[in-house]
């Protein structure tokens, strides 16, 4: 069953991207805006706290390895937010460590999926689209 309202062109979905590397942030932004998503990029976990409620994203794309506050900590914080809608958004982790332990930990902490660096643009698009579609089917 295809729901036309889920295509990026119809209703722009908002994606919040957190990565400490400026080149990667800009790259993800370029790839996702070309798919008509509305993208906000931030460079640290600390910024999430102030931006997430304002931006009200449909999906969070989160780097695991960041200085000061790791992606795992951000993931835990988001999942424990009092706002049920925000705390249940799909979260896709970006990892440069494809070790099973990191992936298992992220999933255990509530991540929906993960993507391993380096990734192709088409894989990123597929992953985001797939998570947003799943979220839509789950009632979001």
């Amino acid at each position: 069953m295809k729901d036309e309202s889920q295509t990026p062109a119809a209703v722009p979905k908002r994606i919040l991207v957190v990565d400490d590397n400026a080149d990667i942030r800009n790259l993800i932004s370029l790839i996702l805006t070309s798919e008509s998503y509305e993208v906000l990029v931030v460079e640290s976990g600390a910024e999430i706290v102030e931006k997430i409620a304002l931006f009200n994203p449909d999906l969070l794309l989160l780097d695991i390895m960041m200085p000061h506050i790791s992606g795992f900590e951000v993931l835990e914080s988001v999942r424990s937010l009092p706002n049920a809608q925000l705390s249940s958004i799909p979260i896709v982790m970006i990892t440069a460590k494809s070790m099973d332990a990191d992936v298992e930990r992220a999933i255990a902490l509530g991540a929906n999926s993960y993507i391993v660096k380096p990734f192709r643009a088409v894989v990123l698009k597929q992953k985001i689209n797939s998570e947003l579609t799943k979220g839509a089917h789950d009632g979001r």
């Binding site: 990667i24 790259l27 370029l30 460590k97 070790m99």
Partner: protein, 386 residues
């Protein structure tokens, strides 16, 4: 000097309380020899620990390097993808060629980084301890799903055959088995021309010792492998001559990983190929150890313990020879010559292809523990000799 007999008695009582107690009734000379042997074992164990620590450091180094490589690679590969959407290739065929080269090499780089990290993980000591029940059917279906864009691009028809009444559970590392399945199916796609068929089969075969084998096979209608190159095909960086001449890109690591996964799981890799007609890769996974095999293994423990306790020798050299003889006769080669063998075993651990029997390794470890428990060894690791 005067307190030695008392100390020895104390140690004998301590050894009795540890469970075995049989050694307390051995002749003093024999106990001394066993104590000396225990010392050697301690030294060897310390060296094994040092080597394991070195392996861990090396893996950590590769993991860090891999991470450092991945981040800049993400930018390079990602921006190539972005640029390719912004260039008018029709008006500039030269640029089209350049982007094709960039694209092909980006794919190779991704594959290389992932393969190097996967290969480093094989060197982790006791990798097999993390084994769990793995459903080969789920792993296969997931692999096909992951590769769907390549399958669709070449309009390949994939047929998955299995007995729906059966289950395909093996003991192993799910991440590694998954990687091996993906590599085999990805190869079949890569070496097939458009619109060919690939057949993946999961079947159970019964073996004579009542143990069963689960066979995972991938049959393609691709370019095949030259007969004289089949034996070398899983060597690190080796690429079949027709793959190179047909300009099929690759790293030469995919089948190396498959071979290592196969060895780690005590499985067997079979390759049948006809040049120009296709190749079938089959991996025979042993199903869980049957009750009969467990019984035989336990009996071996008992026999070896009895053999050690009943040894009559004059010197350490003779003792070692006897241990070698008994250990060898029962198949516990690693246990037979403690010192050097343990060291060489630790090296063997880093070379998974040489591990022939994980049960034997477990048996060795359990026997070492039993030896330590049975022998009156001080906290410092030195034996208390009369």
């Amino acid at each position: 000097m005067g307190d030695k007999p008392e100390s020895a008695q104390h140690k004998i009582r301590r050894s009795s309380s540890t469970g075995s107690g049989i050694l307390a009734f051995l002749a003093p000379a024999k106990r001394r020899r066993l104590h000396a042997l225990a010392k050697e074992l301690e030294v060897a164990n310390r060296k094994v620990t040092e080597l394991e620590s070195l392996i861990l450091s090396k893996n950590e180094f590769i993991s860090n390097i891999s991470h450092e490589l991945r981040t800049p690679l993400t930018s390079i590969i990602g921006y190539v993808d972005v640029l390719s959407t912004k260039v008018e290739f029709e008006s500039n065929p030269e640029l089209d060629d350049i982007f094709k080269v960039l694209d092909r090499n980006a794919t190779i780089l991704i594959s290389l980084v992932q393969s190097l990290l996967a290969l480093s993980q094989f060197d982790s000591p006791n990798r097999s301890e993390a084994f769990k029940a793995v459903n080969l059917l789920t792993i296969t279906e997931d692999a096909i799903f992951i590769l769907r864009s390549e399958i669709e691009k070449k309009r390949i028809s994939i047929k998955l055959n299995f007995d729906p009444e059966d289950t395909f559970i093996v003991e192993g590392d799910p991440g590694l088995i998954s990687q091996a399945c993906i590599n085999l199916i990805a190869n079949a796609i890569k070496f097939s021309s458009a619109e060919k068929n690939i057949e993946i089969r999961l079947i159970r075969e019964a073996r004579t010792d009542k143990q069963s084998t689960i066979c995972f096979s991938v049959r393609d209608q691709g370019i095949g492998i030259p007969p004289d190159e089949i034996s070398r095909i899983s060597e690190r960086y080796y690429r079949a001559s027709n793959a190179v001449s047909d300009h099929v890109s690759g790293t030469g690591l995919g089948l190396t990983i498959v071979a290592k996964v196969v060895a780690l799981h005590n499985a067997q890799l079979k390759i049948e190929s006809t040049l120009g007609l296709g190749t079938t890769f089959t991996v025979d996974f042993p199903a869980q150890l049957s009750p009969v095999a467990t019984l035989i293994l336990n009996r071996k423990f008992g026999l070896l313990a009895e053999a050690i306790e009943g040894i009559q020798v004059n010197d350490q050299r003779e003792l070692k020879a006897k241990l070698h003889e008994y250990g060898g006769a029962l198949g516990f080669y690693e246990f037979a010559e403690f010192g050097e063998e343990l060291l060489s075993l630790s090296r063997t651990l880093s070379d998974v292809e040489k591990i022939v029997d994980s049960q034997t390794l477990k048996a060795r470890d359990q026997l070492v523990v039993r030896m330590k428990e049975a022998l009156p060894i001080k906290e410092t690791g030195e034996a208390n000799v009369e």
